[in-house]
Amino acid sequence: MGGPVAVRETAGSPVAGVPTDFFTPRVPRSRRVLRLATATAAVAALVAASALVVNIVVTSCGSLRSGLTRVGGECVGVLTDVGAHTFEGLGDVQQKIREQNEIVRAKSAAENQPYVRVALLSPMTSAEKSFMSKAQVRHAVQGAYVAQVRANGSDGTNDPPLIELVLANVGSRQEQWRRVVRTLEQLADDENPLVAVIGMGTSIAATRDAAQYLAASDSGLPMIAGVATADDFRDIEGFVRASPSDTDYVLALNAYLQTRTDLRKGMVVFDESEPDLYVRSLLAAYRRILKDYLLPYERSFVGAGDPGQRARFLEPIATSVCTDPKPDMILYAGRVLDLDDFVNTLASRQCFTQKPLTILVGATGLTVSDETAARMAQTGITIVTAASVHPSWFTGDAVVPAPKGLAAFVEAFRAARFGDEATLTDGYALTHHDAMATAVTAIRMAKRSKLSAADVRGQLLNLNKDVVIPSAGGELSYTTGRRADPVGKWVPITVLPAGAAPIPKGTPFITG
């Protein structure tokens, strides 16, 4: 009980000289500490739980169980129920995917057959500093969807297992790849397992890290990239791509230069703004494969990382092309997103009347606006690009031959009625279609009663010889010699503005 009476507060006590708490039980210190600790822990747990709930509610995207989390204003994560949240600009495509997925589920339930999932891992959102534009994102999803429909048959009539497509958004700069691939790993153990990941985003470090993570993962998920062309990916286990590598692009350009005796002096211009694997890989390929054409000096600029500063960095390049030795061609190692600005800067060079200039670039697909094309024509600038597609493939007046599987793809694409088929020219729909088609072919090859991602991965390098992938960009196959790089991928040369330079007749460069 109490201590010395005299030292405690007696004010207000009904008995003079006796503290008001005279009879208050003296809780032992150990008990007080325990109670305090318990209360503190309870409060902390309550606060944490509240914070968690608030965080979930605040950061949720769409329904609470959509699987997406709001990070930096973007909804990232894996959208297994594709209708649970709508990404900007993808509403109609997502609706179609959802309908297709419902068909898959209904069909599987009716026949008591399991279905499998394939995830399109890609930026689904776009921001100012994105590596993929909104249109490219949309086209990538469209391509994957078209391949899904083709794989399942329009009413889920194809052979099992049927394929459900889920969307995995790693964010506009792919910074949230880690949380996304972890979710994908978990989905690999699902009753209807995730058995392949396609897309993978662009050729940046985040894509490489995500690929390496999945390569080392117990999930065994195979990866079939759409537009990741950097040579760095070649040796990653379980990784293949439906697009040419950067080396393949430069080899195609090299083949083209054999036909152009007027182009002998090239200056390399490269983007140094980011740890961009595409740029680095393309630059290395220029230096390695086209070294006989290169002038001893190079120029760099800061690209999409800081649009406001771009013009300031590009202007010196426009000056340098007019000083001796003047280059015939620019070997451009930068993002296509920056190419318009680069062309416009070169168009203002002082020597444009004296010497035409050809820009060489390897890219998935490249187009320029009519305004830029006109300016290029006025200022003697020509772009020669080695790409995954040729714009004329999607029009009635093809100037170069097209791969055998292209027509079926284009037909299916048109049947999907997206309403913007003209934009097939950027190649994103085609390459993602081919990535999906490659994944489906591997899945069907590995067909088992209990299919796993590892089974599918094991089939990737068996996709050759008599195995036919219903791809649109060539008769793709994969070998142990070329590892991730496809054999049989067509890499046509495109000249912009059209007709500004001769195009070789006959079959374009084919990888392998």
Binding site: M1, V15, A16, G17, V18, F23, P25, V27
Partner: protein
């Protein structure tokens, strides 16, 4: 209101509340004191200190509505059942079940089968905590008015919510056994090894309660209810009983010296004999010792600052009862309090108040408060008469108190007469007459003469009033009630039937007949026969031992006076001594001044300017000391004491 000088009493309470592992039950702590000694105020203060800290019950056994042990137990359970931090809310389901069954006067005691059905139906009807609490509240009687407001409505929201849940549970067949089963089942075993159908015990309980006069029915009923109360309290405290740092619950019982209180406490003490870890501390108040029939070894009388016996000494086991007479206020206490609370008051008034109040806290407190309201004091004396004549402060509108003069308020309080009742004329008359008596025997004889007392002892209310009138030592200062009644006696026609002169003459003659020389002189002095009394003392100077002469002088000069004090004490003494016509420098003259002076000094209504009076007494003592060759020092010492008092009154 803050009470003073009761810290040690509060510490004693804490001692009986403190638990140790496996301790014997603590003694019942009894605070003893006269009316106005602050017993009730102490319990109120204790209730204030306990409220919200430790479960406690505060009951007044003089309050209406309690006729026996069951009602007191209901009140205890009801009060203890208030929510309290660390202790939770104590429920008393066994006691409530017992009360429900006891109160059913329709139970068919001739047909046992039907009685069983009736009890089962009754208990089915009364389920839930709210009904149990209400049941106990109905039986708890009046609550002390000073209790916190929360006590009056103890069924708080949390209890109501809990009650609703439990009531719902009890409504379902499968869960009703869970909720009420334990309380009912207890009546089958009562903690003992041999089970019996609970309903049989409950039928017996009903019979015992409805026919208390038969055999040992009342006692069996009370024992069973006590056991139910204890079982409820023990079960309610549960694991808390194993925590030695948690104090015992407390029962504060006011006026335990009533017949009901005596019975209740003895039942309580008997039930604690076999208990190892008693969960209840009992603190009671009493006006007079009431445990006379119990063995001395079971009791312990504490001195003023003494702690409780530890009980560790095998030779002296812990007593079951500890009595602590509440110490009266000392003159130093009163002066100190006056300096703190009434610093502007004339500094000699508190000494007069203490002389009248004799340390009674209520008397002292009321007179100090009244004195503060007096604007100016007379030159002569009768200062306290001014304070007594004042009206007490107006009571609050929401109470039943009425406003009286301070004098009547004190008389009412010291006699225990409620505001609603008029002062009883017959009893007041005889008490006023009896106030003249110096000894208990004389007072009893006077009372018997009135017919209000019978030969075989006190009768009725007068008997209780008599306790407040007398002090055990006839030569001690009179208690305040006697002083006040003497003033009433003085106000009568002195030569009337029971007038001052007639009564004192009667008593003087009676003392003379019994050869009580002290008594004879005492009443003679009260009759102002100064020459006669002084002559007798003067004649004894040098012939009787100094100690005896002084003791007689002190006893005799406590004789009251009926005359008001109109002049300063020294002047009054001089005038009275001169009125005898003796030579002031003679031995008789000095003895006469001594008798007059001492009588004035012993009267609290004598004027406050007493320094000269005590100086004169000092001189006369010193002069007379020369005439006591056997032991002059006693008178010199007496002279020195008066010198000190002279300084204090200066």
């Amino acid at each position: 209101m803050t009470i003073h000088h009761r810290r040690h009493a509060v510490e004693l309470v804490r001692e009986v509340m403190t638990r140790g592992q496996g301790d014997a039950p603590p003694p019942v702590l009894i605070f003893e004191g006269d009316r106005g000694s602050g017993k009730t105020a102490l319990l109120n203060g204790l209730a204030g200190l306990l409220d919200g800290r430790v479960p406690y019950a505060h009951i007044d056994l003089e309050a209406d509505g309690r006729t026996g042990t069951p009602e007191v137990l209901y009140a205890l359970a009801f009060h203890l059942g208030r929510p309290c931090p660390l202790y939770g809310t104590l429920h008393f389901p066994r006691l409530a079940v017992g009360k429900l069954v006891m109160d059913d006067d329709t139970l068919d005691l001739r047909d046992r089968d039907r009685a069983r059905q009736q009890i089962n139906a009754l208990l089915r009807e009364h389920r839930g905590v709210d009904r149990l609490v209400t049941t106990l509240r109905e039986g708890a009687g009046d609550l002390p008015a000073v209790l916190p407001a929360a006590v009056q409505t103890p069924v708080r929201l949390s209890t109501r919510l809990l009650a609703t849940v439990i009531h719902r549970l009890a409504s379902w067949t499968w869960s009703s056994r869970l909720v009420l089963g334990r309380a009912q089942k207890w009546y089958g075993t009562q903690g003992g090894p041999r089970p019996r159908p609970p309903v049989e015990t409950l039928i017996d309980l009903n019979r015992w309660h409805r026919r208390p006069g038969e055999a040992n029915n009342a006692r069996q009923r009370d024992e069973l209810l006590w056991a139910a109360f204890r079982a409820d309290l023990t079960a309610g405290l549960g694991r808390r009983l194993r925590r030695p740092w948690m104090p015992r619950c407390v029962a504060l019982i006011d006026n335990a010296d009533t017949r009901l209180g005596r019975h209740f406490l003895i039942e309580l003490a008997r039930g604690r004999e076999t208990v190892q870890d008693e969960p209840l501390a009992v603190v009671a108040t009493s006006r007079a010792p009431f445990l006379g029939h119990l063995p001395e070894a079971q009791q312990h009388l504490l001195a003023a600052e003494e702690s409780l016996p530890t009980g560790r000494d095998i030779e002296q086991p812990r007593p079951r009862w500890v009595r602590y007479p509440l110490p009266a206020l000392t003159e130093a206490d009163v002066v100190h309090r006056m300096a703190r609370e009434h610093p502007d008051l004339e500094p000699r008034i508190p000494r007069q108040i203490q002389q009248l109040g004799q340390g009674n806290p209520l008397v002292v407190s009321m007179l100090l408060t009244a004195a503060r309201e007096v604007s100016s004091w007379p030159e002569g004396g009768e200062e306290l008469a001014l304070a007594l004549a004042r009206l007490e402060p107006a009571p609050a509108d929401d109470t039943d108190r009425r406003q009286f003069t301070v004098e009547e308020r004190l008389i009412r309080h010291l006699l225990g007469i409620p505001d609603a009742n008029p002062l009883p004329v017959d009893e007041m008359d005889i008490l006023t007459t009896c106030a003249a008596a110096r000894t208990v025997e004389q007072a009893t004889a006077l009372a018997m003469r009135s017919g209000l007392l019978t030969a075989d002892g006190y009768a009725g209310r007068l008997g209780l009033m008599f306790d407040s009138l007398r002090s055990a030592d006839p030569d001690a200062d009179p208690p305040p009630l006697r002083r006040l009644l003497l003033r009433r006696l003085a106000a009568r026609d002195p030569d009337g039937g029971d007038g001052w002169n007639r009564v004192h003459a009667l008593l003087r003659d009676e003392c003379r007949a019994r050869d009580d020389r002290t008594g004879e002189r005492y009443h003679a002095l009260a009759l102002d026969q100064l020459e006669e009394v002084s002559g007798q003392f003067a004649a004894e100077v040098g012939t009787v031992p100094a100690a005896d002469w002084l003791a007689t002088l002190r006893a005799v000069t406590r004789a009251p006076t009926r005359r008001p004090h109109t002049a300063p004490p020294a002047q009054e003494a001089h005038r009275l001594a001169r009125s005898t016509g003796v030579d002031p420098e003679s031995r008789l003259g000095r003895v006469t001044r001594l008798v007059v002076g001492l009588r004035l000094a012993a009267d609290p209504f004598t004027g406050r300017l007493r320094a000269d009076l005590h100086d004169g007494l000092k001189r006369d003592y010193r002069a007379l000391a020369l005439h006591f060759p056997d032991d002059q020092s006693l008178l010199v010492a007496e002279a020195d004491r008066h010198k000190g008092w002279a300084d204090q009154w200066r």
